[in-house]
């Protein structure tokens, strides 16, 4: 039986089911003062007890839902396959010749082979096949937009509009193998060569693991408190539940030879010059730390969606996380959807994603858009923000202008509208900043050639900080892996 879970639980059901419960008579919880749960920039958090809040409470407040609703709302999407489901799903694979799914995968995982290994009852072998190409195959199984990658290429998508569930099968195999304690890669004899990796995100981790396998000593520096990059601080919580990002990193480090140093940022605590001096090679797997600006009046009342998501990923108690009654998300990518959907799951009454171009131009895939719609998020396209309106630093509404796409750019039609908003998220893209001097750039990112070679000798780069990054975890993994092979070849004098 497939598990069903409420996509979104309301407080109303809870109330009606509990006579004399919340909302009936005097609520003693109203008398308890709970300290504010910290505040995001631009967000006013009410100081009152969160337990008295509902979806209709104005402002940006925590605890809009009954305490039990959060776990259900933020459960795995989609849930993992059980062994029987996996066997049935695996049986649908046609084992294509020179399979299109492999070509569509940025890390070129041998998908037909790993699915056949699942079908024959050896998920450990399947996981080994996956990890040989993509050491973060567990995370990618959860967060890859498979509907635009392997599953879009699946011949059964063409045949019947229903591809083999490659992502879920990959998760099944990697979860099983990891739970069984399998780490199928041994480290080669130590080479004595040292490589610095800056950024413990997908690119840096993939690079570090591959280098470590070749026997090099790797030190991974990261600016944040925890490694993982966007795996830990980005991505929707329901895609990677139960502390998976950290578990996967701990598993990855089992190969040995990797030291992770957190709280060290390039430019602040580290210089590229010193790294080049102290290590035999340097790999830069930097994230995009800066966000783009709207450049409209009232922008200070908006919050960066990436900060909201990071906060959500780190909070120990979702009920304590404040969210608006009426939330407006400006942008059209995965980050916009992740922020919008999770606002709904936290209990926002209305959530609207507003994107300035047409729906087909949205960065979020059709599948993601559908997921948002199912969660009750409205998507408005062809409208650009004009101003955020509010008082005392708190947003009340956003004014938009309808725009049309013309050769010279987006042109206002002259028609405007306002959306009520106590919380406004900006999700209009991020930028790379603080690139060390001497590195050639391309489109604001670090220019690379071949397998991640930068303009500086001995320095490689991969992931979002490079033009080829595509803002995809799986692409970052591929780039980190390929740079590692190139670094290894260079260090080996080949």
């Amino acid at each position: 039986m497939r598990r069903r879970r409420p996509l979104y639980a309301t407080g109303a059901d809870e109330e009606s089911a509990t006579p004399g419960g919340r909302g009936a008579g005097v609520n003693i919880y109203r008398l308890i003062k709970i300290p504010a749960c910290g505040s995001l920039p631009g967000i006013k958090v009410r100081q009152e007890a969160s337990l008295s809040n509902s979806q209709l409470t104005p402002g940006v407040v925590p605890g809009r839902l009954p305490a039990t609703a959060y776990a259900a709302n933020f459960a795995d999407v989609p849930p993992p396959l059980d062994p029987y489901e996996a066997r049935v799903a695996a049986d649908r694979c046609y084992f294509c010749h020179d399979a299109p799914c492999i070509t569509a995968c940025p890390t070129a995982i041998d998908i037909p082979l790993f699915i056949r290994q699942i079908a024959t009852g050896t998920p450990e072998a399947a996981a080994t096949t996956i990890w040989a190409q993509n050491i973060l195959g567990g995370m990618c199984a959860r967060v890859c937009p498979t509907e635009t990658l392997c599953e879009e290429a699946c011949v059964r998508e063409e045949a019947e509009g229903k591809p083999v569930e490659i992502g879920r099968l990959q998760r099944f195999a990697t979860d099983r193998a990891r739970a069984g304690g399998l780490h199928p890669f041994a480290r080669a004899a130590a080479t004595g060569r040292r490589v610095a990796v800056v950024g413990a995100g997908p690119a840096g981790l993939a690079c570090a693991h591959r280098l470590a396998r070749h026997g090099h000593d790797v030190t991974v520096f990261d600016a944040r408190e925890k490694p993982g990059g966007l795996n830990e601080y980005g991505l929707a919580a329901y895609k990677t539940t139960g502390g998976f990002a950290q578990d996967e990193i701990a598993w990855l480090l089992a190969v040995g030879g990797i030291t992770i140093v957190t709280g060290r940022a390039l430019g602040r605590d580290l210089t590229l010059e010193a790294l080049r001096r102290d290590f035999d090679a340097v790999f830069l797997g930097l994230g995009l730390a800066a966000t783009n600006a709207l450049g409209i009046p009232g922008e200070a009342m908006a919050t960066d969606a990436v900060d909201f998501i990071a906060r959500l990923r780190q909070t120990p108690d979702l009920a304590a996380l404040p969210v608006g009654r009426d939330v407006v998300v400006i942008g059209g990518g995965m980050t916009a959807v992740d922020a919008g959907v999770q606002s709904r799951l936290l209990g926002a009454e209305t959530v609207t994603i507003v994107y300035r171009r047409g729906r087909e131009r949205m960065g979020a895939s059709g599948h993601e858009q559908e997921h948002a719609a199912t969660a009750g998020v409205r998507i408005v396209t062809g409208a650009a923000p004009v101003a955020i309106l509010g008082e005392g630093g708190a947003a009340r509404a956003v004014e938009f202008a309808y725009v049309e796409e013309e050769p010279k750019g987006l042109v206002p039609t002259g028609e405007t509208f306002r959306l009520r908003a106590d919380q406004v998220f900006k999700a209009i893209g991020q930028r790379l900043e603080g690139v060390p001097a001497g590195l050639a750039l391309e489109g604001g990112r670090i220019r690379t050639e071949g397998p991640g070679r930068t303009s500086l000798a001995g320095v490689w780069a991969g992931g979002d900080c490079t033009p080829a990054g595509e803002d995809l975890t799986v692409t970052a993994v591929a780039q980190g892996r390929d740079a590692a092979e190139d670094i290894h070849a260079r260090l080996a004098g080949r």
Partner: protein
């Protein structure tokens, strides 16, 4: 709707769907439920001689071969003949036949290989009012170790001898059930006919081990760490059964002998295939054991619809495909075909390419954009690409017209028919020079 009423070896039944001798027909309770569900007849589970009944194992009796979705492809069993007292069975048979006079009631028998034993049991069965008997010469496990079942069915002389006894000592129609665990089914069928059999039924189950437990290193089903071969039945054995039915139907010595087709009949289509090859009716077991008695409703509706669509009576179907079963040497060598891949239906999986390139004749090109095309200069029309293609009708075989040149051989396709016996490479062709 086409009438499905059947007369088989002089036995009438409202439809050609009988339940085979097996656990579903072991007692009144089941058989009455089967008749209520609509089955045309039953072959009551095999009775043994008077005396203490046989005993069965107390561990698992069945093994299974199943698909990834647990679909039953075959069952294997090590169950013996009925383990209930003879008197109880005979009493119930009498009562059921009395209550359901329009349904066929056949009683399966297996007693020691001596005339007196057969004479004795036949007399008892006749008293029940049953319509006929089926001689179980097929059961391949347990009973065969005691000189019965397939131990008889594997020796044509024994088949003939016992059949003759039965015809001598009974007025009832005698159906001889054959074992497939032989090299040539025709020898067994001919022996049955010589002995005077009114019909044959086939196939009984195939000697088999369904699986090996790779932790306990024991065959399945496993009884206390050991296993023995069982009899395989169900969809997986159907192709073998179809072949054997056809062989008997077209054999000069057995032609015209009524055949009850058995072996993996699961849907109306399976039943129709058996009948087209010459079976006068079919017997079903595994499908009922998998899905219950209700499937007979689909068997009835499906066969009726098919006959209506073809404008055929049931009798027209029986044996209609038999004349088209021939010997290899008589196949037309002037029938030259080439595979054709429909690009509109192709989903670009490349299985045809892998199969042809790796294991056959390197006759499929994989062109840029995953476009698959047949190279007529290499294609021998083996049909493997058709068989492995996951899309129905995407790859078809197209006949080269007479007069056109086969790019593979460079020869003009001749008109008319020519087979191996007239081919220049035939050894006799040379000898005649």
């Amino acid at each position: 709707m086409a009438s499905l009423a059947t007369e088989f070896a002089g036995i009438a039944s409202p439809n050609p769907f009988w339940l085979a001798s097996a656990p579903p027909t072991d007692k009144e309770y089941n058989v009455v439920r089967a008749f209520r569900a609509g089955w045309g007849g039953v072959v009551w589970k095999t009775l043994g001689a008077e005396g203490p009944p046989v005993v069965n194992v107390n561990g698992p009796r069945y093994g299974v071969v199943s698909g990834p979705d647990r679909r039953v492809l075959a069952l294997n069993n090590i169950e013996l003949i009925t383990d209930r007292p003879l008197e109880v069975n005979l009493r119930e048979i009498t009562r059921v036949k009395r209550d359901w006079p329009d349904r066929a009631m056949i009683v399966s028998l297996m007693v020691p290989c001596d005339e007196e034993s057969w004479k004795a049991i036949l007399a008892r069965v006749e008293e029940t009012g049953a319509d006929g008997v089926e001689l179980n010469f097929g059961c391949p496990h347990g009973m065969s170790e005691r000189g019965m079942g397939s131990a008889v069915g594997q020796v044509p002389e024994y088949i003939e001898m016992v059949t003759r006894w039965c015809k001598m000592h009974s007025r009832m129609p005698v159906i001889v059930k054959l074992t497939p665990n032989i090299t040539d089914i025709r020898w067994a069928a001919r022996a049955a006919r010589r002995g005077g059999a009114d019909a044959v039924s086939l196939i009984n189950t195939v000697n088999s081990i369904t699986a090996v437990d790779l932790d306990r290193f024991a065959p399945e089903p496993t009884i206390d760490g050991k296993g023995t071969h069982g009899g395989l039945c169900g969809p997986a054995v159907r192709p073998m059964a179809l072949h054997m039915v056809a062989d008997i139907a077209r054999d000069a010595e057995t032609r015209g002998l009524p055949i009850s087709g058995i072996g993996g009949v699961t849907t109306w289509r399976d039943a129709a295939e058996f009948m087209a090859l010459g079976a006068g009716n079919v017997q079903v077991c595994t499908a009922a054991m998998t899905y219950g008695f209700k499937i007979v409703e689909e068997l009835i509706s499906g066969l009726s619809q098919y006959l209506d669509a073809k404008g055929m009576a049931l009798a027209d179907l029986v044996g209609r495909a038999t004349p088209n079963v021939t010997d290899w040497q008589l196949l037309n060598l002037n029938y030259v075909t080439k595979a054709r891949i429909d690009p509109g239906l192709c989903i670009k999986c490349g299985r045809c390419y892998a199969a042809c390139e790796d294991t056959s004749h390197q006759a499929i090109w994989m062109k840029p954009g995953r476009v698959f095309e047949v190279n007529d200069a290499e294609c021998v029309a083996c049909n493997l690409c058709v068989d492995v293609c996951p899309v129905a009708d995407c790859i078809t075989m197209e006949r080269l017209a007479a007069g056109s040149v086969d790019p593979r051989t460079g020869r003009t396709v001749p008109a008319g028919y020519a087979n191996w016996t007239t081919h220049p490479n035939h050894p006799m062709a040379k000898a005649a020079e």
